[in-house]
């Protein structure tokens, strides 16, 4: 009986603490000095995509902390983060977007394309601009209020195949390419690009049966020997993987075990330091596409970013996703800065439908920013919601992901004009 009473009091205390926290937040927010602008940030920091979500979260928060502390915010206005962990739970994501709108955020980012897919209906309906670091064509074809920070998974494929045809391919006829795709928008992006452009580029895609059906895997796959055995029987020249790091590492390892003699390439969702950690020696020689520079490159913004990463998150050192998160925040801040040049603070800080329209028309659409050299320059062109359009090709050598080309620009693909898109 005594223990039961103890437990009861413990639970009551816990619930009281939990219930009282929101009020304390309210107080904390109210007595903050100065004028602020709110940015909504949601990352999949827990759940199945945490391997990417956490470095992204760290990068995004550190960048905003840097701008607030060292640059004095945007034109003197502090940036306030409204951060919500979505746990890669699509059902919860829509309420997070509602929360962002209610909190008076001027725009929001989700990092992940799947989470943006889950929230794009509401965002488009209310004209609440969203930025996704990792994007796939379905988010902005046709273009509405969702923007892609970086080229999408389809652009990766096209850029890599361009490079492959120019630099690596030596045989005659058309090279054959097998695509191993994750079973969500990450994989679908590459498949759609391949389907749209294969003929024009002069490559043969090895479909798994019907046209448009690539080899597919799940994020929690334990072995891909079976699919790779079938791919091996088709004898491809290139194995292109569009997936997250863990399954990419698994596929690379299995392909090496089978002794496959192919060029392996990975899209930008899979090419991070985690891939090298997980695949070890097997990752040697793997090509990949990534839209940011590599860790430690000599570009203006690198030193500051590495300093913050070293101080706050040493475990993320060398991780491309940290760069992506960092630049995602920098771009959002730059959008606010651009908007502030064309409109007054009060209209923007209100965070209502008018503010969202101002951010989009005066900020995003007038954006021109070099992202301190950390990735390709961002700007808006009509009918193309990708802000940055260029990628680099990387190669893994001695456990280091090294850029081997200059910026490659990916073309606009009007997927919505293709009759099979969205079917």
């Amino acid at each position: 009986m005594k223990t039961k009473k103890l437990i009861i009091s413990a639970i009551v205390c816990l619930i009281l603490v939990i219930a009282s926290l929101p009020y304390m937040t309210a107080c904390g927010g109210a007595d903050k000095e100065g004028k602020t602008i709110k940015l909504g940030i949601s990352t999949p920091s827990t759940g199945i995509a945490a391997e990417k979500g956490r470095p992204l979260e760290h990068g995004q928060k550190d960048a905003i902390a840097y701008v607030n502390a060292e640059l004095g915010g945007v034109d003197g206005y502090q940036i306030e983060i409204v951060w919500r962990d979505n746990g890669y739970d699509a059902a919860q994501m829509s309420n997070i977007v509602r929360n962002f709108m209610d909190e008076g955020c001027v725009m929001f980012s989700t990092s992940s394309s799947a989470m943006m897919t889950a929230s794009m209906g509401l965002a488009n309906e209310y004209g609440f601009a969203g930025l996704a670091a990792f994007s796939s064509p379905n988010l902005y074809r046709p273009p509405q209020h969702i923007y892609g920070q970086l080229p999408d998974y389809g652009d990766d494929f096209l850029a890599f195949m361009d490079y492959y045809l120019d630099e690596i391919w030596e045989g005659s006829g058309q090279p054959t390419v097998a695509i191993h795709a994750l079973n969500n928008s990450t994989g679908k992006g590459a498949i759609n690009a391949a389907r749209a452009y294969a003929e024009e580029m002069g490559i043969t895609i090895l479909w798994d049966g019907a046209v448009g059906k690539a080899f597919e895997h799940k994020a929690d796959s334990l072995s891909e020997m079976e699919s790779l055995t079938r791919i091996n029987a088709m004898n491809p020249d290139v194995l292109y993987i569009s997936s997250t790091p863990a399954p990419t590492a698994l596929i690379v390892k299995n392909a090496r075990e089978l002794g496959m003699d192919v060029v392996i390439a990975s899209g930008h969702a899979g090419l991070t330091s985690a891939l090298v950690d997980l695949a070890g020696e097997d990752a040697e020689g793997v090509y990949g596409v990534f839209p940011t520079v590599s860790w430690g490159d000599d570009v203006p913004g690198m030193a500051k970013m590495m300093e913050y990463c070293e101080a706050n998150h040493p475990e993320d050192a060398g991780n491309g996703d940290y760069i992506t998160g960092w630049t995602q925040s920098l771009i959002m801040i730059e959008i606010v800065r651009t908007a502030l040049q064309n409109a007054d603070y009060d209209a923007i800080a209100a965070g209502d439908a008018d503010a969202w329209a101002i951010i989009e028309n005066e900020g995003i659409k007038k954006l021109s920013y070099d992202v301190e050299g950390l990735h390709g320059p961002v700007s808006y062109t009509v009918d193309d919601n990708r802000l940055s359009k260029s990628v680099l090709i990387f190669n893994i050598q001695n456990g280091i992901i090294k850029a081997i080309t200059d910026w490659i620009e990916a073309p606009v693909v009007r997927y919505e004009d293709l009759d099979w898109f969205g079917q």
Binding site: E51, D220, L222, S223, E226, L250, L258, G259, A274, D277
Partner: protein, 329 residues
């Protein structure tokens, strides 16, 4: 009387026919393996992946056998033990022969804590409440993992040699051979323990009738505690082995969930069931994936096992080797 013997004879004939059929099927598979290289590879992959499922399933059966609780936190226990072994082997840099015993101790401790603080207070409560508690434990462990290890993915240092072994034209990595060996060892140890050891017998008795066992003077609490500790050790062994193959990722939780299908197919309270059902599901996945994906939708690999399980369940409602409960009103 005569009717009975007739029925018994019929049953005997049916049994022999089934065994012969099984033999013919296996012989046919072996034949196919010899003539078709792809088929051989599919078989080997299916068997090795299936053994991984079986290994995790053993931990599930262990808890079920002692307390009839379905452990929904299995995947998270696998994951947290993998992370702990990462801390021991990679971060602290201990050699495997020191680090792994520490991992086992950790697993024992984890099992004790879970049983003592989450499940003990619920003894004699509705069984579904216990299952819901394991659901809560799963969430808690998942959060704890995120909290302690901000890395979210990592590779274990190599425990096994890396070279692949060629069997005919097919390949199998040595890691999987280790998995199969260790899985069989764990299986034998558990079977012997449950058959001959006092504690094992007590566990079986407890699962059968908790009240009667208490009346006989068997310490039910200690039985539960031991079963959870053992289950966590089995899960930890599974975790270390799987993450040495594929790295430590959140996917381990889903792999843990996969063990459910294995256990149900094999029979919830049967170790041999888990050992047999694991490879069956593994093989169903690879054969299904290997030969049907081209003609059906992608991802058919994950569906085939369920179709097989449903068919088996309709024929044998208590799984392949599960104990049939005779119900009385």
């Amino acid at each position: 009387m005569e009717g009975m013997t007739k029925k018994a004879r019929l049953k005997k004939i049916l049994k022999y026919t089934l065994w012969t059929l099984l033999g013919v099927v296996i012989a046919f598979f072996v034949f196919l393996c010899v003539v078709n290289a792809d088929f051989l590879q599919f078989t080997i992959t299916g068997l090795s992946v299936g053994m991984v499922y079986a290994l995790i399933a053993l931990g599930f059966v262990l808890v079920w056998k002692a307390s009839s609780v379905a452990n929904l936190a299995l995947g998270q226990i696998v994951l947290i033990s993998s992370w702990f072994s990462y801390t021991m082997l990679a971060q602290a840099g201990l050699p495997a022969y020191i680090g792994l015993p520490i991992v086992v101790l950790f697993a024992l401790f984890l099992g004790w804590v879970i049983e003592r603080f989450a499940l003990r207070p619920l003894i004699a409560q509705p069984i579904l409440s216990l299952i819901a508690v394991t659901l809560g434990i799963g969430y808690f462990l998942e959060g704890l993992i995120t909290f302690i290890w901000p890395l979210s993915t990592a590779g274990l240092p190599e425990l096994f040699p890396k070279e692949v072994i060629h069997i005919g034209s097919a390949v199998i990595s040595q890691e999987y051979l280790w998995v199969i060996g260790i899985c069989l060892l764990v299986f034998i140890a558990l079977t012997v323990f449950f058959r001959y050891h006092r504690m094992g017998i007590a566990m079986r008795a407890t699962a059968d009738d908790q009240t009667a066992v208490q009346a006989c003077g068997i310490p039910v609490t200690r039985v539960f505690s031991t079963s959870w500790m053992f289950a966590c050790v089995v899960a930890a062994i599974g975790g270390v082995l799987i993450s040495s193959i594929g790295g430590i990722t959140h996917g381990l939780v889903e792999t843990g969930l996969k063990a459910f299908s294995v256990v149900i197919l094999g029979g919830l309270d049967s170790f041999i069931g888990a050992i047999v059902a694991g490879p069956i599901i593994g093989l169903a996945e690879t054969y299904g994936g290997g030969y049907l994906t081209t003609y059906l939708w992608a991802g058919v690999r994950d569906i085939i096992p369920f179709v097989i399980i449903i068919i088996v369940m309709v024929i044998k409602p208590f799984g392949l080797f599960g104990e049939e409960r005779i119900e009385r009103i």
